[in-house]
């Protein structure tokens, strides 16, 4: 029993390491800060490698690793904003606009990232897990430790908000955001 789980854990390690770019991308889509995303991805990767033996079902690897990333992210937030309601936090891109970014300011990709950054965190996490990582609703629920019904309602609200930001009033995204806002 011990040996078989050890064998499985060892077999998982390369697969976990391979998920590094996706951990980074997801963390970036949550925080829009390259340095922080890199730290979070690294932290989640190391925790994942250390506790690989705790994963019961290898098919759930992605949701499991994303849940570790979520925990790292929450720990980070608790350190930064001890009193804020984490679900409602809106963190805007911390990377100041570089000359390249300013030049590409009307680039659609940047506008989309701004719109995502403007979503409350709870919605941002759900929509990135479902649309970006293509997780099923139940896997997303597992990764975030929330009920499937909450995944569905947040997703629905996130999509309406993104539509309003991207399709209806694209000009609104050109307004440069202030650094961090809290609450809705």
């Amino acid at each position: 029993m011990f040996f078989s789980s050890l064998l499985q854990a060892n077999a998982l390690k390369p697969r976990i390491a391979e998920l590094r770019p996706r951990l980074y991308r997801l963390a970036y889509a949550w925080c829009h800060d390259a340095c922080l995303a890199d730290d979070l991805a690294q932290e989640a990767l190391i925790k994942g490698l250390k506790s690989a033996h705790q994963l019961k079902d290898a098919a759930l690897l992605e949701a499991w690793l994303f849940s570790i990333l979520n925990n790292c992210w929450r720990d980070h937030f608790r350190r930064q904003h001890p009193r804020a309601d984490i679900e409602e936090i809106m963190e805007l891109p911390a990377d100041g606009p570089t000359p390249e970014q300013r030049h590409a300011d009307n680039d659609l990709a940047l506008r989309v990232r701004r719109a995502v950054a403007a979503l409350p965190l709870g919605q941002r996490q759900v929509v990135t897990l479902v649309d970006l990582e293509e997780l099923s609703y139940s896997a997303a629920a597992q990764a975030l430790g929330i009920p499937v019904g909450t995944v569905m309602s947040r997703l629905s609200r996130a999509r309406v908000a993104l539509r309003d930001l991207l399709h209806e009033s694209p000009a609104a995204l050109h307004v440069l955001p202030t650094k961090t806002r809290s609450g809705q």
Partner: protein
């Protein structure tokens, strides 16, 4: 009337392929009968495509911020070194692609048509033809990308059919969004024969922007 039976969450689950076969059939039937639902589904699809492409190449962390990460145990340093190396390569490639993108000369114009408003369709066609004419024989690609409710512009029964032909004669490309066609059960034959189909309208627009096209939304 069937709209009432479809919840907001079912519509999302439809787009995400999260419905059972029976529910999927029921929702699909309602969507086929209701143009407002079709519009919403097309919007969800676009948002999904946009999101994926927005994070396809996220900016990579610079070497300068990796210092914070060095609280790793010894056993992991070899692994981290490998990862940083691959990150470094990624960052080099990314900054290279940024340079080529920002130093561009204007290659063309991509015009977005996503609304069901014939006045905007006219405007798009006039803009497109004016650009083409202003540049005459000089290379300046002009394309109109229609998606969502804007797809109707390119249908056989479009009120601007004559304008489409004029624009095409002036060298304007007319492109229809394949995603919108699929979601609205639109066949190639339903569209003006001058039209070309691209897999996803929004993606086409983003790619052209990346290649150095100006983006215009009338």
């Amino acid at each position: 009337m069937s709209t009432q039976q479809i919840t907001e969450e079912e519509l999302n689950a439809f787009v995400d392929g999260q419905l059972s076969t029976a529910d999927r059939a029921r929702v699909l039937e309602a969507i086929n009968r209701d143009s407002a639902l079709q519009r919403r589904v097309a919007e969800f699809q676009q948002t999904k495509a946009l999101l994926r492409h927005a994070y396809e190449q996220p900016p990579q962390a610079r070497e300068s911020c990796s210092a914070k990460t060095l609280r790793l145990g010894q056993a992991w340093q070899a692994l981290a070194a490998t990862l940083l190396l691959s990150l470094g390569l990624g960052a080099g490639w990314f900054s290279h692609s940024l340079r080529t993108n920002t130093a561009h000369t204007l290659k063309g114009v991509v015009i977005q048509v996503s609304e069901a408003d014939p006045a905007k369709w006219e405007m798009a066609l006039i803009n497109a033809r004016n650009v083409r004419r202003a540049y005459g024989d000089q290379p300046m690609e002009v394309e109109i990308v229609a998606y969502g409710p804007g797809l109707n512009m390119l249908r056989n029964d479009s009120p601007v059919s004559a304008g489409l032909e004029d624009a095409q004669r002036d060298g304007v490309k007319l492109l229809a969004c394949g995603n919108t066609m699929r979601m609205t059960n639109t066949a190639r034959e339903d569209l003006n024969w001058l039209v070309d189909v691209v897999p996803a309208g929004i993606v086409e627009i983003m790619q052209k922007q990346n290649e150095g096209y100006a983006y215009v939304r009338p």
